[in-house]
Amino acid sequence: MRERYGVGDGSHIVWQDGYQAPYQAPDDVHGAKTVVLDGLEAAIRRVSDVDEWEKRFGDWRRWEAAAPGRTVVWIGTDVTQGIVPVDREERRWRDAVGLCYQRLAAMCSRVDRLWCGLAERLK
């Protein structure tokens, strides 16, 4: 991640792991230049309102733009390519993940799809 996005050079990285705990809001993160939000699909499982997520993506986008040299990196697993789940909640979550990824990708300046550590740039 550090190599690929060139964000490791002496800058302070805050790594938020969505598998472990909900993300902190931009206002609660101090002194960071790079913020990584990992496990996005797990975070969406806790809060599956797509409009709410679009607002959060926008908040981070504004945080990034508020000072020079800031970068926000979102990492998510693509969970949308398996069999359509029988369970309604599982289906809703999967749909929310797909919609959130679309809206997030529309806001991002760079989007990569990773396969075994190799990046395929989509945007």
């Binding site: 598998y19 496990g39 699909e41 797990a42 697993t77 693509d78 969970v79 949308t80 390519q81 398996g82 069999i83 999967r94 396969w115 075994c116 550590g117 190799l118």
Partner: protein
């Protein structure tokens, strides 16, 4: 050299990997690691079909059934030989879940590192190691700890193997999509 080939269920990856191993071993032997346990009839049938496909070149095939001694395999390798591991996912499941290694992230990581070292040791002693694995990362991230750690370590193994590989590809609908290097012809 390490050759990495992945693919979805029934994508045709085993056939492509076998053809690749045969090409890479014009004179040497092919050490086939059959990692799928024959637990039920369907699986037994699958294994039989694989065996029939290999029969044409039977003389040069050496079959290693899981559990096997990785050290024994390393010791028996010659410079012209090729190792065909089919597949990493079942072998790694057998290794991770045979004891308690899956119970913490640390021990799971250590076990994955050991497995990677073994594959590297084979590659250092023969012409090529062809690793077959599965695309199983698109069905969601599991909640239970054992499966979560299995998936995480498998993803890590994929990254390390592809980084070390001379060629890496994914098979989709029987079609080979080369992602890294030149596919052995």
């Amino acid at each position: 050299m390490i050759v990495f080939v992945s693919g979805a269920v029934r994508s045709g990856k085993s056939e492509i990997a076998e053809a690749c191993a045969i090409r890479l071993a014009p004179v040497g032997r092919i050490h086939y690691i059959a990692a799928a346990p024959a637990d039920d009839e369907e699986m037994a049938g699958r294994i039989r079909r694989h065996q029939e496909r290999r029969a044409a070149t039977a003389a040069r095939w050496v079959v290693w059934e899981v559990p096997f001694s990785s050290r024994g395999l390393t010791a028996s390798l010659r410079a012209d030989d090729v190792v065909l591991l089919d597949c990493l996912t079942t072998w790694w499941a057998a290794e991770l879940f045979v004891g308690d290694d899956w119970k913490t992230m640390k021990t799971a990581d250590e076990a994955a590192r050991r497995l990677l070292d073994e594959v590297r040791a084979w590659a250092g002693r023969c012409r090529a190691v062809v690793v077959v694995s599965n695309e199983l990362f698109s069905g969601g991230v599991p909640d239970d700890e054992g499966t979560f750690r299995y998936m995480k370590t498998l993803g890590w193994l994929h990254q390390q193997l592809v980084a070390a590989a001379g060629a890496a590809a994914v098979v989709e609908c029987g079609l080979l999509r080369v992602k890294k290097g030149r596919w052995p012809q």
